[in-house]
Symmetry: C2
Subunit: 294 residues, 2 copies
Amino acid sequence: MNDLLKPFIQVNQPLIEQQLDSLIVDIKAPAQLKEAMAYSLQAGGKRIRPLYLLAVLEELNVQNKDAIVVASTIEMIHTYSLIHDDLPSMDNDDLRRGKPTNHKVYGEALAILAGDALVTLAFGIIARLESITADQKIKLIDQLSFASGAEGMVGGQVLDMHGEGKRLTLEQLEEVHVNKTGALLSFSILAGAIIANASEDVVNALRKYAFHIGLAFQIQDDILDIESTSDQLGKTAGKDVLSEKNTYPSILTLAGAKEQLQKQYDLAMEALVTVDLHNGLLEQLANYITKRSN
Amino acid sequence: MNDLLKPFIQVNQPLIEQQLDSLIVDIKAPAQLKEAMAYSLQAGGKRIRPLYLLAVLEELNVQNKDAIVVASTIEMIHTYSLIHDDLPSMDNDDLRRGKPTNHKVYGEALAILAGDALVTLAFGIIARLESITADQKIKLIDQLSFASGAEGMVGGQVLDMHGEGKRLTLEQLEEVHVNKTGALLSFSILAGAIIANASEDVVNALRKYAFHIGLAFQIQDDILDIESTSDQLGKTAGKDVLSEKNTYPSILTLAGAKEQLQKQYDLAMEALVTVDLHNGLLEQLANYITKRSN
């Protein structure tokens, strides 16, 4: 099943890491600020968003040397959101992926500024690309701003905060996730289509795929919190139940959440079928996401 | 002397306020987030950055209906930087322009997110403009990212933090200001030139003017802290001396700071003379900045 995905990840993950390093190393900024930015960028993770962008290009048989740069700017935006989310006034997390969070190492002020610098840099990097047209850059910036701002990721974070301690409906929970994590994941997929100059049909199908796979990703996260050990997850398992967090299992039961996961997976795959993109990397990434154990 | 400036400000300041309101009102985001964004955007101030952009266009005899929108995005970036600067982990200010700071009203988490949403929205608004070309948008986004990120405003904020409690040289103090406040002010002026499709000569002259007038602005700020009353300033006067802050007067003496102010003013005006832009709004704005009492 994963005959395409494994080599794809093995080739591209190191390229993404390299690209992330090189985007920071050349900027003319105070050393400690650069260090704080690089610290969180280099903290690892699956790099699922940049991988998705590159996978779309591969599926559409388009090569473009700016693709990996755009992929990395999405990871910069994701990283800035984690730095700010971890702050004491937000989730107050001391550890992320087993390492001290940014503010634990550099202090709150520098952590806030490192996040600010990352989001600002991401837009500038896209504006300075050389292998895509000005119109493509504008589309990317337009959509990235939507996906990561008040109408997407930041708005989702606010909804999430307001939902704490309240019982959400399934619809409300979905609204949180569609914005907080779904919007940026969707953008990764859409960005691949923009760089590849994909047809409107393909763009629409990929948008649908992205929407459903984004929800599937989140449902699997919720299920893993219940079914996995802390060792497997690399973070404390069972935390959602203890903190009475709104999750798919808390609203639908565990069995209901698994059904919902399958439903979202099926809808994602149906979208791919319409444009004949269902037998490749995007299917395997969908499997990877819905069957992952961490 | 101010025969052009007064009517210019009277006409344009209300248009800027209107524009700022309308940029927020239509976004689809959680109500409290929009409220927090609008609260700080509507907190007033001289709107010197947007006015500068519009003044450049007027001096170059160019009308463009996107100009006021770009002008407002600069004010959004300025506003986000103030929200984050005021946070407890940064300057810990409870009041700004006589009103409670954003985090005092909405809490730290929402204040951080309102700032994040403003900076992200600014780039998206520029990408979605309709009266300038894609190339102009890209130039604006490229330069705005530099001016407001690690290589500009955010970097300057880090330098300022690191300079606290140390004795800076004049050169080091200048580096703080050139980045922390100068870069975004310069961008306002440059953005006007980009929208007007100004010639290279004009762009270069305006860059020089902007550099020197940015420093002049800051020197006048330092002088006002000593020579004005709290009533005149709308904030506590004499705070710099009490907190042993690095300022032009602390390094150069008050008389030396005034000399330096005149020097920067002269250099700014010299740059304008080379492109015959020294007898209008830009001269009057330079006078306004260096002779203002708050």
